[in-house]
Point group: C2
Chain length 496, copies 2
Amino acid sequence: MATAKRDEKAICPRAEDYARWYTDLVLRSELADYSPVAGCMVIRPNGYGLWEKMRDALDGMFKETGHRNAYFPMFIPVEFLAKEAQHVEGFAMECGVVTHSGLEADPENGGLRPKRALDSPLVLRPTSETIIWHMYGQWINSYRDLPILINQWANVVRWEMRTRLFLRTREFLWQEGHTAHATAAEAVAEATTILEVYRRFAEEYMAVPVLTGLKTEAEKFAGAVDTYTLEALTQDGRAIQAGTSHYLGQNFAKAFDVTFQTAENTRDFVYATSWGVSTRLIGALVMCHSDDKGLVLPPRLATNQVVVVPIGRKDEEKALVAPVVERLRAELKPFDVIVDSDDSKSPGFKFAEWELRGIPLRIECGRRDVEAGQLTLARRDTGEKKTIPLAGDVAAAIRGELDVMQQAMFQRALDFRAANTRTVETYDEFKEALGPEGGAGFLLAHWDGTTATEKRIQEETNATIRCLPDQFPAEPGRCIVTGEPSARRVVFARSY
Amino acid sequence: MATAKRDEKAICPRAEDYARWYTDLVLRSELADYSPVAGCMVIRPNGYGLWEKMRDALDGMFKETGHRNAYFPMFIPVEFLAKEAQHVEGFAMECGVVTHSGLEADPENGGLRPKRALDSPLVLRPTSETIIWHMYGQWINSYRDLPILINQWANVVRWEMRTRLFLRTREFLWQEGHTAHATAAEAVAEATTILEVYRRFAEEYMAVPVLTGLKTEAEKFAGAVDTYTLEALTQDGRAIQAGTSHYLGQNFAKAFDVTFQTAENTRDFVYATSWGVSTRLIGALVMCHSDDKGLVLPPRLATNQVVVVPIGRKDEEKALVAPVVERLRAELKPFDVIVDSDDSKSPGFKFAEWELRGIPLRIECGRRDVEAGQLTLARRDTGEKKTIPLAGDVAAAIRGELDVMQQAMFQRALDFRAANTRTVETYDEFKEALGPEGGAGFLLAHWDGTTATEKRIQEETNATIRCLPDQFPAEPGRCIVTGEPSARRVVFARSY
């Protein structure tokens, strides 16, 4: 069987082939599997557990900032998509299209074929601005109906040609926020509030540092006035977009004729935002932290934070260790502790399996530990071992160790980013820093602000402008390609 | 605007037109709205909040019983559906079919048309047995890989011709569990464990009593050996199926060739179950409890359990009431309390609005209340008012009142079902009890066990066999139609 064969295969080391390491790891750790449907994946329980933790954390932050969840149909009438000119241009090519209902016997090949043609084809949502703004047109009449702060957790479809597990698949899971406001200022504030929610989530939960800032005209969302982005850096030096928040101005309100009565008794079009993160975050998480042994998960997102491995197969050893293990099972419940008492596998085999799975802390408990009144703790990110006293408050010690690990993972990623962010002054320097292929970190360089120059750089180097970064002070200079004036350096990188 | 017009309209009383009452109420309380896509609905935040509470409660119970969540593609190859003969017969007619990707300009009518035909059409999952059992075939090799206990929260598509908000829509949300086992006994035990989880959820959270039991051959799931069902009774005397749990035997394992090595070193096909509940539960909840004033929600599923309405518009009244209201806002946070201080609306108007929304408890707090050292509590289900001392533990009093209300709602529904469950001995009695149309409660009657008789009764009376109930002792008799022997009475009703 295909899987059995894959299971026997080791994970390709990062240094040998980073792309293969990623795929091997996602499959071997059972985060996901390929599906029989081209371009789609199965998110297995280990991967879905991560998504649940991400969803719960984000959902809590959305609710704290006044948002509520809803659900809109996945089917979008073709004519809706056509109403906003840029939007349809951005998404038309990658739509999945439903044209029929029902199946009937197909006498020619003994199989089944679509039966009834729909009156009009339906698109599977690539994103939901159009259907949501149609509904907002029904719900909004006066400034008293504003703001509307709605989020949706849903599947979306984009018929991508080149796919990769978690990073780009034809169907994926995401959340999409869609808000409606009485003023431009309020809508811009919403877009940046969400950017900050996303930043906090990436840094405090995923332990992934992100650059934030505006996208260029060429890179922004189809239908947006402004797109704010979060850009992380993978271990192989590529940028990975971790989320976007769009200020849509009145574009969708105009396309769907959504006006409201202002407090001053005039009528105006409604201002909008939309914003989203997807299961792609799981790919980013793996790419930023994991190693050749397997997953390295930040404690705040790990489904199980601790695994206890009792050591010793002899009856007298077991008798000594068992009561301690039972105590740990009870005391460490808040950490969703796993106790691995399977006698058919050696401790070494178990250690490797749980390292592959990315459990943050391993507790080893053998005869010597019990006799010495201690437990041995091993940290997944560093491999460091230490002992803690059995007599003390074990849960508090574990909590402390997990906090240290969460913080250390973030700091390590921050240091990595600092070491892989370079300022370049000339196009030659830029090309040399990038190298012929692969990731080369973030490059800060001056750019003249034109799409023509941006496209030329992309064509010649395969690097794109990731954002106009918030994190670096504006400092005037001259474009590395044209020598034209530039108000600030922008961030370039090759990206996923 | 269509909505504004609907908003002004009162809710049709149940006695006048129950179906219209239901639709008016769902729209007016903003649980849901019609969508521009035929047969689909928008679940608005008030409705989605209910679904979130349902999901969280059920998800907790699934996890307690060892299940984990995953996500499988929504797209199903047509040939997969065809592999299980009964399954394809049951679902072929109601599939949504994706045949193309991409859109291109359509010069003939100035719009857009589907661009690239897929190599092979894809079905949008009506349920996921086929794609999941294809994957289980990759994952299962030995008895050590069993059991697999996976659940999925997802949208599904069934191209229904007659639709109704929440009860029957072309796209709906649900959970579907799919488990794999080494023995038939284990799989049957799983199916009945889940039936009990569903029963507890319906009765303890929804406060909706349910009859449980097996479906007949004619009514069981397409591809199942046995289907267990939960049947609730609406206020207009119709049965409503609240969930099903299927023992699938080896049907899907055989269709997808999924075998495993047993502990005895032989190979056998894997045994399966599947089970699901959907957003239809929201419709059942409304139909079982709500009244002419609006929603009546059981406290355990209400997003906001308490609303505080300060009374009095004069400054001196406000000064007296405000500190009490602020204290309540803090103390009642665990109940997700709403404080409605909007001065532009009268207390009576507010009371009606929150009654429409189904907030379980209303606290009125005016000058007289504060001076008397008390609060006035109004219960949504009965309309009863009582006072509680301001000096005491208000949160504890509220908790007690909510528990009493939860229990009272269940008891009322139980009494209603008892009053609307009748035993009939002859077909004439049966038809008279049913009346010419509409709901008439549950009828317990003897049936000869044949599909022919079942179909005849359905054609002549529009009543169906809801289940072979667990709740009534088997008692032999003679079929009301054919006079043939019958081992037990079965439950008939007209249904939604």
